[in-house]
């Protein structure tokens, strides 16, 4: 690649002081290349090559190179090797397998595959292997196969063809016809023949291909077992070096890669059945394992041990050969303690973990328990992970206390890299091998204290499940949780778990002074401030209510707490508070008992944790490994800690997925929710829907006690609109509306009772939710409500029965649904009668429903407006009112009022900008009625002239009330 331009460019880049300069230089060069490529025909082959190399260099620096692909690919069609080489390299580096351009070079690649020149053939094969798109596979698979099996191919080409086929096979198994490769005996035989090729390079590559084929369809290749055994013993024969030639002896081991591959392949099949083959194989394995010695030279060690560790894998696969197992175990033991060889310690731990399901081996590993625990504290994270895996898989009921103790101990150190895995595993071991349940509870609580952040919800939920299902554990759990909650800093997971358990089982410890119901409640209440998640508070509030069920004496305090949360910002918490409050109301005792009864046992099911850990994440890589296939076969007869596929990865992924997979029934506080769902749950739902918002703006002004209302000669709507007080400024109105949405609209208030209403209008139906709150300290009894119509019967009512009494500070609700049949001028009345503080009282007020509530603002332009305006003249459809305003007129306020009564305030319709025009339609059963109003303002005189025109006389008459609003 001797090119001055390129060398210069690389030199320039190297001299750049910072990234900024480098980018500038790269941009300049890219512009230069682009310019030259524009006239690509004029470029010499050398120049083209040079520019493509520059492109590649830029690409390797990490810049996106999105041009010149075509020019680069053209080099493939050139004759010279060096052009082709850079062309192919560019193709491999720059293009993905789905790139359209690849189609263009298929023919060149095909030609090169046929080339007599071995190097060029090699380039083409490498390209197919490296890029390997679907079209490549379909078009070229046959050619590649031919090169592999042809008698004339040279070893170089054969090797590459074998790997190329493997690559295509992995990506597109169907590319080689219906039978795949080896569909007939001849093909298989010729492939087997390649295993006896004099070039070990060809044998190695063929072995790779064979592994790929076997992993696809083991039945087809059963003959390979015997052949591999033979080959393996040949490679380990004392005279092997002579037979295969010195050059394949790599640091005293003969082609370790090939040996590893053979051992890998054998793991796809059960141990050979024929006795002499079996014996021979065992001899070889024993020889490999027991002869391995630690040497001075690192590379000698590596090459020998790569075979040794693979041999151990095969021993694990065989499972039954005692002699081999014990020699493998002793080998691993030695490597484990070789402290200056971290690589071998890593691999030894790895092998131990996979071996620990063999009982003989597991027993012997216990001798090394101390060493393994030491590795858990190694400063290499890779080793720590392995050690954790081994400890996890070698844990059983005999050593669980020690192992879990060690793990917890270790958790106190600050190793954040593997904390999450550690926590999950401690949780599982503690459950699976607990010598007694109390120890289990202690362990998990300790876990939460030590590493609360890593304790996911399903861990504490599991504790709840176990405690619920084991009655003898409940007292202990409640006690311990109480103690834990008492300590100063408590992790949120602990609060959730402890809170739930106290709520559920607190009654077991209620007889003691220290843990009296009052104290229990106090501690739960304190925790409200200590937690950050709403979820925790939700659990706590449920627990508090559960306490009330068993200990009615603390009801007052709990109700206090519930009330405090009826206005909380979290909807779920608010809903719970309100529902529980309703449950605690007098008369609901039976319901309270049913709802808050002790939870039934959880059905025995497999721990979510174990289930998660067993779920192996299938990573779609290359060939399925032998272990994978095996574990698939064994999937049904699982259980026990030994599962082969317990990779750290499975644990990790499960931790993150577990939460979302919890089914509702597994989630204890969801259960609780389900039960309470029968309670009305829509009460906390914010404002009363869409319709009535705007009027509420004005109505939001402090409402008057009934007495004053009467004295003010209400009659019309003005009282509802704020009792003649000045309309609040626009922005104030906005705020008011927000408040109203939350709280509803006060329609009556005196020292004893407060009545609020929320209104939602749909079509000609208005739904009103009334809330009566007892403000006094004594009960309101004999409570009765009645809705009355004034004057004409224009409405149909459905009134829900309200409770007959209201406890002090309690609120009851009542729903009223009202259907407007025709137009009405006065809103319906709400009459209340009740006895409070020993004397009967009567109260009458208005429901905030005026006919304008059913109106819909209409936007229209000048022409449309005046079309309606012009059509309607004279009484009874037109009404004109002239009246004085009690205060100075502000136009924006007037517009707001017009909007408030559900007219649109039309801009640019009236020629006089001072005037306000509005339009609306209303439909109360007799078709749409259009209403237009025009309000002429005389600011100097503080006077209005209001003209209302509609196509219904009655509406016109009622529409005139607008003057009252002003």
């Amino acid at each position: 690649m001797a090119m001055r331009g390129l060398t210069q460019f690389i030199g320039d880049i190297r001299n750049c002081a910072n990234k900024e300069e480098e980018r500038k230089r790269v941009d300049k060069e890219m512009a230069n290349i682009r310019k030259h490529f524009k006239e690509a025909t004029k470029l010499t082959a050398y120049q083209k090559k040079k520019y493509v190399w520059k492109m590649l260099y830029i690409y390797v620096l990490g810049y996106e190179v999105d041009f010149g692909h075509m020019e680069a690919l053209n080099l493939i069609t050139a004759q010279g090797y060096s052009e082709k080489m850079v062309g192919y390299l560019a193709c491999v580096l720059l293009l993905s397998e789905t790139n359209e351009f690849l189609r263009l070079i298929i023919n060149s690649v095909k030609n090169d595959l046929m080339s007599a020149n071995e190097e060029i053939q090699g380039l083409a094969l490498a390209c197919v292997a490296n890029v390997g798109g679907r079209e490549f596979a379909e078009t070229l698979a046959g050619d590649v196969q031919r090169i592999l099996l042809s008698n004339h191919s040279r070893p170089q080409a054969r090797k590459k063809a074998a790997l190329c086929m493997l690559r295509l096979l992995r990506k597109y198994p169907d590319a080689f016809g219906e039978d795949g490769i080896g569909g007939n005996q001849d093909q298989r035989d010729s492939l087997y023949d390649l295993l006896e090729d004099p070039s070990l390079g060809v044998v190695t590559a063929t072995m790779s291909l064979l592994i790929g084929l076997v992993s696809h369809n083991p039945e087809l290749w059963t003959d390979s077992v015997n052949k591999c055994c033979k080959l393996l013993s040949k490679l380990n024969h004392p005279n092997a070096a002579k037979e295969f030639g010195q050059e394949y002896v790599y640091y005293k081991t003969i082609n370790p890669w090939l040996q590893v591959k053979i051992l890998r392949l054998l793991q796809y099949y059960p141990p050979p059945e024929r006795h002499e083959v079996h014996t021979k194989l065992c001899d070889v394995l024993l020889h490999i394992i027991s002869d391995a010695q630690m040497q001075k030279n690192v590379n000698t060690n590596n090459s020998a041990h790569s075979v040794v560790f693979e041999a151990i894998n095969y021993v694990i696969h065989m499972e039954t050969n005692k002699e081999l197992i014990s020699s493998a175990v002793s080998m691993l033991g030695q490597r484990m303690t070789a402290s200056n060889q971290p690589n071998y310690r890593y691999l030894a731990l790895d092998a131990m973990q996979r071996m620990s399901h063999i009982p003989d081996a597991a027993q012997q590993f216990k001798k090394h328990q101390e060493t393994i625990i030491k590795s858990l504290k190694d400063n290499d994270v890779s080793l720590r992970r392995r050690a954790l895996d081994v400890l996890y898989s070698m844990c059983d009921s005999k050593n669980s206390e020690q192992v879990v103790g060690e793990l917890l101990d270790y958790l106190q150190g600050g190793d954040y890299a593997i904390r999450e895995e550690l926590v999950l595993r401690v949780a599982i071991l503690a459950e699976r091998f607990s010598p007694n349940l109390q120890w289990y509870v202690d362990t998990i609580l300790k876990l939460m204290t030590l590493a609360g952040d890593y304790v996911s919800d399903h861990i504490w939920m599991r504790v709840v499940q176990i405690v619920t299902n084991n009655e003898e554990l409940q007292l202990y759990a409640a006690e311990t949780c109480y103690r834990s909650l008492k300590s100063e800093s408590v992790h949120e997971s602990m609060i959730k778990c402890g809170g739930y358990i106290l709520g559920e089982f607190g009654h077991h410890i209620a007889h003691k002074n220290e843990t009296s119901p009052d104290n229990q409640f106090m501690i739960l209440k304190e925790k409200f401030h200590a937690c950050e998640q709403w979820e925790t508070k939700q659990i706590l509030i449920s627990s508090c209510v559960k306490l009330v069920n068993v200990h009615p004496q603390i009801k007052g305090a709990v109700v206090e707490l519930l009330k405090k949360h009826t206005t909380t910002i979290d909807a779920e918490l608010q809903q719970r508070a309100i529902e529980y409050l309703a449950l605690t109301a007098p008369g609901k005792e039976t319901m309270l008992e049913t709802v808050l009864d002790v939870m039934p046992n959880f059905p025995e099911r497999e721990s979510i944790l174990t289930k998660k850990i067993k779920e192996r994440e299938r990573v779609s890589t290359t060939d399925r490994t032998a272990a994978q296939i095996k574990s698939e076969q064994n999937k049904d007869d699982e259980d026990g800690p030994q599962t082969v596929d317990l990779s750290a990865s499975a644990v990790k992924s499960s931790a993150s997925r577990a939460k979302s997979q919890l089914s509702p029934s597994q989630n204890p506080h969801n259960d609780l929710l389900d039960l309470t769902a029968e309670e009305p749950s829509h009460m906390g739902g914010g404002g009363g829907g869409g319709g009535g918002g705007n009027l509420d703006d004005l109505l939001g002004a402090p409402s008057q006690p009934a007495a004053t209302q009467k004295s003010q000669n209400l009659g019309g709507l003005d009282d509802l609109l704020g009792g003649g007080s000045p309309p609040p400024p626009a922005h104030g109105a906005q705020q008011g509306s927000l408040m109203d949405d939350m709280l509803g609209l006060g329609i009556y208030e005196d020292p004893i009772i407060n009545v609020q209403a929320q209104l939602a209008v749909q079509g000609n139906v208005a739904k009103i939710l009334l809330r009566y709150t007892n403000k006094s300290f004594s009960e309101i009894s004999a409570f009765k409500t009645a809705v009355q119509q004034v004057k004409i019967p224009a409405m149909l009512f459905q009134v829900q029965d309200a409770a007959t009494s209201i406890a002090p500070n309690a609120t009851i609700t009542q729903q009223v649904q009202m259907q407007a049949k025709t137009y009405f001028s006065e809103p319906p009345k709400l009459a209340l009668s009740f006895s409070a503080q020993g004397s009967p009282r009567q109260v009458t007020t208005w429901l905030p429903v005026h006919v304008c509530k059913f109106q819909q603002p209409v936007t229209c332009n000048k022409d449309q407006y005046f079309a309606v305006w012009g059509k309607i003249t004279g009484a009874p459809n037109e009404s004109v009112n002239v009246f004085k305003s009690p205060r100075p007129i502000v136009r924006t306020d007037v517009e707001n009022v017009v909007k408030t009564i559900n007219y649109s305030a039309l801009q640019g319709v009236d020629p006089n900008p001072n005037n306000v025009c509005g339009a609306a339609k209303i439909n109360l059963g007799a078709g749409d009625v259009y209403c237009v109003i025009r309000l002429e303002i005389d600011s100097a005189q503080q006077a209005y002239k209001l003209t209302v025109k509609t196509n219904n006389a009655q509406v016109t008459r009622e529409g005139g009330w607008g003057c009252n609003a002003l």
Binding site: M1, S82, V260, D380
Partner: protein, 180 residues
């Protein structure tokens, strides 16, 4: 399978990158950075394997060796023998060393073509192609016959470069002594 091969110097500059699964440039760069940050932190007394690297899928391992200023990192999945890959890295470095006679970082920079060529003779499509040093050298050496037909222009440049060679040589860092 080998998913990628990275050669990064001790300042985090990639000197050779090859991915056997096509990835967008940005992602490649992110992976290179992550590998470098993870590995450069590790002391030479810990093992040469690193698992659970965020950027790659779960069963991916980094197997790496350090030679002088360069990190040779092979990204592999579970189907490869770790020690086998360590050997392979060594074979790769030995091949480089033979071809360049005392290979140094500069050789990797200025002779990318050769380096790629050598690598292609060792690993193909993420699979181990050849492990025999002699075979590799023969295969790489064979190319010289083909590319001998250089243009005059090239020959001239070649000569010029060689006279500059002394400067380059002075910057050479002998790898061989540090081969572990």
């Amino acid at each position: 399978m080998i998913k990628g091969i990275l050669v990064i110097n001790n300042h985090g500059k990639p000197r050779l990158t090859k991915f056997y699964e096509h990835l967008p440039v940005e992602r490649q760069q992110q992976m290179i950075r992550e590998c470098f940050t993870l590995i450069s932190k590790r002391s030479d007394r810990v093992c040469n394997f690193l698992e659970d690297v965020g950027a790659w899928s779960k069963d991916t391992k980094l197997v790496y060796r350090v030679y002088a200023t360069l990190y040779f990192i092979f990204v592999v999945d579970g189907s490869e023998s770790e020690l086998g890959i360590l050997d392979l890295i060594h074979v790769f470095v030995e091949s480089l060393d033979h071809v360049f006679e005392n290979v140094c970082e500069l050789d990797l920079i200025f002779h990318t073509d050769k380096v790629h060529h050598i690598l292609d003779e060792i690993v193909m499509g993420g699979m181990v192609l050849e492990t025999n040093l002699q075979e590799i050298l023969t295969a790489v050496g064979g190319v010289d016959h083909v590319s001998k037909g250089m243009s005059d222009e090239q020959v001239k440049e070649q000569e010029e470069l060689e006279t500059k060679g002394s400067k380059v040589a002075s910057a050479k860092l002998k790898l061989k002594n540090q081969l572990r």
